[in-house]
């Protein structure tokens, strides 16, 4: 399994197909911003988004979307606060802010949220 730092430093890309995003690391998602949706409830009761963590990767489904390509614009990103699998969830120092940018042809850039960008945890 790749570590998040390794993914960010080496600019390893994720994948997306339709409404499904695949990320090459495993992490708990605390907060996710997709367009106008601020999603913090990932339970089955809510339709916003769900995610699953596997041994080598994780996946996120955007339940209200059929195709991310059609909804996300050129400079738009999906922003997330995540805690890498195995790290202490309750220590704020482990809360990592990343964004996902669609590159086309199913490729997904994974980047650290830059200081210039607006993102409230």
């Amino acid at each position: 399994m790749k570590k998040l730092n390794e993914v960010l430093e080496n600019k390893i890309q994720g994948l997306y197909y339709g409404n499904r995003v695949l990320l090459p690391f495993a992490a708990e998602v605390l907060k996710l911003i997709y367009r106008n949706d601020i999603i913090t409830d990932f339970s089955w009761k809510k339709k916003g988004a769900r995610y699953k963590i596997y041994d080598d990767y994780m996946e996120i489904y955007f339940c209200e979307t059929e195709d991310l390509d059609r909804e996300i614009e050129d400079y738009d990103v999906i922003k997330m606060v995540v805690v890498e699998k195995g790290e202490d969830l309750f220590d704020f120092k482990n809360h990592r802010r990343i964004d996902l940018r669609l590159l086309g042809k199913h490729k997904l850039a994974i980047e650290k949220v830059e200081d210039e960008m607006l993102f409230f945890e």
Binding site: E64, R70, E71, E116, L118, F120
Partner: protein
């Protein structure tokens, strides 16, 4: 992708109604009415046609209720289908006017106003998206108050929309460690609304007043002494809120105190938009009159600036601003329904205002113009009550000379209507165009904003109504 959809949507609407205008213009009995209505923004159309059935206010009420309840009770349906709902309800009114009232010119008039509205908002939104202002200072209540006051003044130079779009991102960034919804709500109060009461550029109703003959500097000369205490009072209430919000105790961030500005090219585009506001046949006689087409040279320039400012903007700045068309798309779709469905409401109000106008005092003009501007478009509301107030003194709003007479001899009434139309836009999210855009930008940054009702119940009613009541008591009560 969505930007293209928005452009296609606007072009289709323009072409559709352009074709409609040609059909209407080909009918001799309506040609003059069409021309006069498209030309005379804000003129009440009821003179040429019968009044709508009061039940036709229902689509507007339904749309308002759905805007208020959608995000609360059926969020996913609303998020996915609000454009269809808005257009469908708008079509109910359009079909009624075409089939039952045979009134095309009220629709054309509304379309001309809508296109003008969306051209200004859209171009300011896109151009300001290419500007990055970084203020590396520690957030303090006093710094926030200074920014809000600066924004209130700036709203009179760049318009409430331009000032809001320029300042909302730096304001959010400065407060990133202790941001709360009240920060954004006071921003909406002061910069997106109340601030812009001093010049015709500040808010569209004042601009319509200027086009009708009110002197450019009349507003600042006659409103500043209402504007100043109101702005200071709202800022003081904000200070009380903000001083109690201490923020995180362990903030080790170091601040350089620098203010950085990037995107000079986009600033030039902003300047072009602001200058183009004056490109109107009524202000400059050399400007070609494109009637009966419901779009003028000004709107064409604004749409062109919108396109070129996006295409030539610094990509890094667009990336940092996470620029996208969704906030303006939301405004475009919601307001196409609002503009269409509010036609019957505005015509009925215009009728009532003209019938009872002679009995109304300045205070009543203040409250009625204000109360309706909080939920309806404040430009036609301003025009309807200006027309009624001038009618009270046997003056005609269509005569520039009589408008000048009115501003000189009955300044109290013009003051009451102007202050009501601008200040009360802060009462709800739909009271003024930038309100929704500021809300949308904030939510995309991860801060959940209060619902439509909560905004009113928790903030605008308890904070603004007492201040607006003081304004009424001091400046309008028992006068006129």
């Amino acid at each position: 992708m969505l930007g293209k959809k928005l452009i296609v949507f606007t072009l289709l609407a323009t072409l559709l109604f352009g074709a409609l205008s040609v059909v209407a213009a080909s009918q001799p009995e309506t040609a003059n009415a069409v021309a006069s209505v498209v030309q005379e923004a804000g003129e009440t159309a009821e003179a040429a046609h019968e009044l709508p059935d009061p039940f036709m206010v229902l689509p507007f009420v339904v749309l308002l209720l759905m805007i208020a309840t959608g995000p609360l009770f059926y969020e996913h349906f609303w998020e996915k289908h609000y454009p269809k709902v808005s257009i469908l309800l708008g079509l109910v009114t359009v079909v009624y006017y075409l089939a039952a009232l045979h009134d095309t010119h009220s629709l054309l008039h509304t379309l001309a106003e809508y296109l003008s509205f969306i051209a200004l908002l859209g171009s300011l939104f896109v151009a300001s998206g290419g500007i990055l202002i970084k203020v590396d200072k520690k957030s303090t209540p006093m710094l926030n108050v200074m920014i809000l006051l600066f924004g209130a003044v700036l709203a009179n130079i760049f318009g409430t929309t331009g000032a809001s779009m320029l300042l909302i991102r730096p304001f959010l960034k400065i407060n990133k460690d202790r941001i709360k919804p009240y920060h954004v709500i006071f921003f909406i109060f002061l910069i997106s609304n109340v601030g812009g009461a001093l010049t015709p550029i500040g808010d569209p109703p004042l601009f319509i007043g200027f086009l009708r003959g009110v002197s450019f500097f009349w507003f600042v000369e006659h409103i500043w002494y209402i504007w100043l205490p109101s702005v200071l009072l709202i800022a003081a209430v904000f200070y009380v809120f903000d001083v109690r919000n201490k923020g995180p105790e362990t903030n080790e961030t170091e601040y350089s105190g620098k203010i950085e500005f990037k995107g000079g090219k986009s600033l030039i585009y902003l300047g072009i938009i602001l200058l183009s506001v004056f490109i109107d046949h009524g202000v400059m006689s050399w400007v070609p009159d494109l009637r009966p087409f419901p779009i003028g040279l000004r709107e064409i320039i604004m749409f062109a600036v919108m396109y070129f400012s996006y295409k030539t903007a610094d990509k890094e700045i667009l990336k940092y601003n996470e620029f996208e068309f969704e906030p303006i798309r939301e405004v475009a779709y919601l307001f196409v329904g609002i503009f269409a469905t509010m036609v019957p409401a505005l015509q009925l109000i215009a009728h009532e205002a003209n019938v009872y106008g002679s009995d109304l005092s300045a205070g009543v003009f203040y409250w009625t113009t204000g109360g309706l501007s909080g939920f309806l478009d404040n430009t036609p509301t301003f025009m309807n009550f200006l027309s009624a107030a001038m009618g009270k003194f046997s003056l005609d709003v269509n005569s520039a000379k009589e408008v000048v007479d009115f501003q000189n001899m009955h300044a109290l009434y013009l003051r009451a209507i102007s202050v009501g139309a601008v200040f009360f836009g802060a009462m709800s999210y739909i009271g003024n165009g930038p309100n929704f855009m500021v809300k949308s930008i904030t939510e995309r940054a991860g801060l959940r904003m209060p619902s439509f009702f909560t905004y009113m119940v928790k903030y605008s009613i308890p904070i603004l109504i007492p201040i607006f009541t003081i304004v009424w008591l001091v400046f309008f009560y028992g006068r006129g």
